[in-house]
Chain length 321, copies 2
Amino acid sequence: MKILITGGAGFLGQRLAKRLLERGTLDGQPVTELVLLDVARPADATLLSDARVRAETGDISDRAVLDRLIDTDTQAIFHLAAIVSGQAEADFDLGMRINLDASRALLEACRSAGHAPRVVFTSSVAVYGGTLPDVVQDDTALNPQSSYGTQKAIAELLLCDYARRGFVDGRVLRLPTISVRPGKPNAAASSFASGIIREPLNGERSTCPVDGETRLWLLSPQSAIDALIAGCELDRATLGNRPVVNLPGLSVSVNEMVAALREVAGDEAVARIDWQRDERIGKIVESWPGAWNTSRAEQLGLTGDASFADVIRAYISEQRA
Amino acid sequence: MKILITGGAGFLGQRLAKRLLERGTLDGQPVTELVLLDVARPADATLLSDARVRAETGDISDRAVLDRLIDTDTQAIFHLAAIVSGQAEADFDLGMRINLDASRALLEACRSAGHAPRVVFTSSVAVYGGTLPDVVQDDTALNPQSSYGTQKAIAELLLCDYARRGFVDGRVLRLPTISVRPGKPNAAASSFASGIIREPLNGERSTCPVDGETRLWLLSPQSAIDALIAGCELDRATLGNRPVVNLPGLSVSVNEMVAALREVAGDEAVARIDWQRDERIGKIVESWPGAWNTSRAEQLGLTGDASFADVIRAYISEQRA
């Protein structure tokens, strides 16, 4: 089975690639070729040394790049490439080009190939916004309050229509905010949701730009990768006329995140958090839901994390390994 | 005030133009120039003879056409141009080009002009679909089951984000199915909703392609025009972070439509309806809601029709005049 991962040099892309290589199969078929498309080659040398891996650099909004990489052997595509929320808000045209136009170009490349490949598209809490119930339901309207959320919502609609018409076997997985991400802060409005845990654990200071009462909907990287693979392996028929799944998460306030950090790493770590509100970030993050109903995901066998303290512990043990 | 109507040679476009010329003002300002853009010139000679009217032909998906017609004097735009549901389902690329790409090009032309003109975008019952409550609520998720509905839903999202960013003063008016339309059948899946009334009144036979129990959400052309103008004149601040309004309609089953026809025009008219199910049409039309909550529209002062028998009577008296 040939698999394409867009955003394949990114944090989730590389992790997903490693997991697929370790498993050796997807949907019961051997992984024979894993194409990682991104603007740069993946940093992970172990990944690149695997004979099944083919790292490709190129602009994902360039249809010619996609046509070259997607052929009738491409049986599964994980479309992870995106401009993150903060950057899409700051650079509207870039967000439109990558989050919308490139998603459409990818769907068109699949349609041209003609074999209806499986396409897993990652969406986000950011498709919701405005006046929301405490717990978002599967039938709650999308009302994004950021350009990133708008672009993700549009790509969802496109994917659903391409799936309905039989151009792709598409599924949309709406991801909670991923925490704890390793590495450096990024331009996502939610970057702090990893930073306020990661930096204090590394002995560095970190600034929290939102109020402690702000409720986030979180998923660990490990569980996100599990969900991507399980979502790809779902039988299409179980999804009915709505191939969109809100993935399970943990509903945790920032204060509760800090309490979990204290539980795991003590007062010293917590003292490294500076509280300084940033209106630009607060406005985006506070428009997102703090929880959504996960019953459909659970019925489909998709699971999340047990507790945020466990998520922090898993992050620490992974960093040590 | 200079006003642009896209789809200005269409049924609603010409009607809206005539009403605006009769009123002489929009939002308290005199209508000085009314640009009607369409693929052809309007058929109505009276309309064309008005010195304020400028008929322009061109491809609305051509950005150069839009840039030529939208300048800083353009204070209001009614974006009515669309490929109807049946045609957008039959010709996917054409629907994408007109319903999606042209809408985006129009928003981009407004953004370039830089004065945030008022843009009224007409959307549709077709943005809803799948498993729906008996009465769709303002916060019911969009789950379109046609390419037309998908393209309308995407254009809504674009317009809302362009409005949020201050590129346009946008408002989305979701129209019920318009009935009774004068003239000929068209490629809309809902074409029969006018045909089964109009043709029998003209002494002609008409085929109903859906079951009598099918519930439709209807609005007369007169009330649709009233709502477009009222929607354009709404104070932006009253719309909050969600400039989308579900317009009032009448929830009427096809059997009830036929009963209203009998009430107004007798058994002889009703006998001219042939019942022959068409799966392609039924599948699209039956995915649409039969009613939605109209409380927000009513709070905003937008009203609909009293009864479907009254709608038929208004159609007859207009045709006589």
